[in-house]
């Protein structure tokens, strides 16, 4: 059957993703921003980058942070309140579930000097640039000194 044809399906998924990319780009243009949970901001100052993220309602121990090369990965899960019998949701707007988000950093990081804080539901991770990657200043000796 045509609709279950694998090639067709792959092509369809490709165009679906393309459509998604386009709609994301459009929503950015129109000022509406939609992103994957958790939302992050990134601040850069010289050889240090700070990533902040709003992850309300979970314990610091439940957030898994790892850095590989230039990728910072945030993982964890937020559980929904268990509903018992005779309980009913009137509104359910809060996000729940497992999350896994990769943030691309502007440079490689000195992984042993990464500092993470979590307060009031806001995570703040400071990552210094890898020493080996820092631009080295090269002194230029004048010809006369060498002589």
């Amino acid at each position: 059957m045509l609709w279950t044809d694998r090639n067709f399906d792959n092509g369809f998924m490709e165009s679906w993703r393309e459509l998604e990319r386009m709609s994301n780009a459009l929503s950015r243009l129109s000022g509406r921003t939609v992103h994957e949970f958790p939302l992050i901001n990134m601040w850069v100052e010289g050889d240090s980058v700070t990533v902040t993220s709003e992850i309300p309602g979970i314990d610091a121990d439940d957030i898994e942070i790892s850095v590989v090369g230039k990728s910072l990965s945030l993982r964890g899960s937020r559980k929904q309140d268990e509903t018992k019998e005779n309980e009913a949701y009137h509104r359910r707007e809060r996000w729940n579930g497992r999350f896994s988000k990769i943030v691309e950093l502007p440079f490689n990081v000195q992984t042993d000097r990464v500092d993470a804080k979590f307060s009031k539901g806001v995570l703040s991770i400071t990552l210094p640039r890898a020493e080996a990657e820092k631009p080295k200043k090269i002194d230029i000796k004048s010809g006369e000194e060498v002589r």
Binding site: L39, W43, P56, K84, R92
Partner: protein, 135 residues
């Protein structure tokens, strides 16, 4: 089709026409869950950046107003390169029905999540109508 990405956004609060804010801050609407239980109604609101000192909950007649003030912490000398969320205060208004015992409302905040317990009045709790089978 399974779309696995979970897109979320922070919604900015709309102002009523003719009303202006006195603070030049962005104001967001916190996402809430409202769960009705046998004894009470629980309201859970996501308000990252807010703690017990920066939260104002006012009950006037039947109107419950939740306000949260967030201190903007911009790291000194830093340049914002990726911005997925805005930082600002929170504001949301709810109308309570008569069945809430307004004197026993309890509020706690932990990790940026407000949890309001609104107990039902005794009259509401016992309002159960027995159904008899007709012979």
């Amino acid at each position: 089709m399974s779309v696995t990405t979970k897109d979320i956004e922070k919604k900015e609060a709309k102002l009523r026409e003719g009303v202006e804010r006195t603070r030049s801050r962005r104001v967001y609407v916190p996402s809430v869950d409202i769960i009705e239980r046998e004894e009470d109604i629980v309201l859970v609101a996501d308000m990252p950046g807010v703690d017990d000192k920066s939260l104002d909950i006012v009950l006037e007649k039947d109107t419950l107003t939740i306000d949260g003030h967030v201190e903007e912490t911009i790291p000194e000398g830093h340049r914002l390169t990726v911005s997925e969320y805005g930082i600002g205060d929170y504001h949301r208004v709810f109308t309570l029905s008569d069945e809430i015992d307004k004197d026993r409302i309890n509020a706690t905040v932990k990790h940026g999540v407000l949890r309001l317990t609104l107990p039902k009045t005794a009259a509401v709790k016992t309002r159960r109508i027995p159904v008899r089978a007709e012979a």
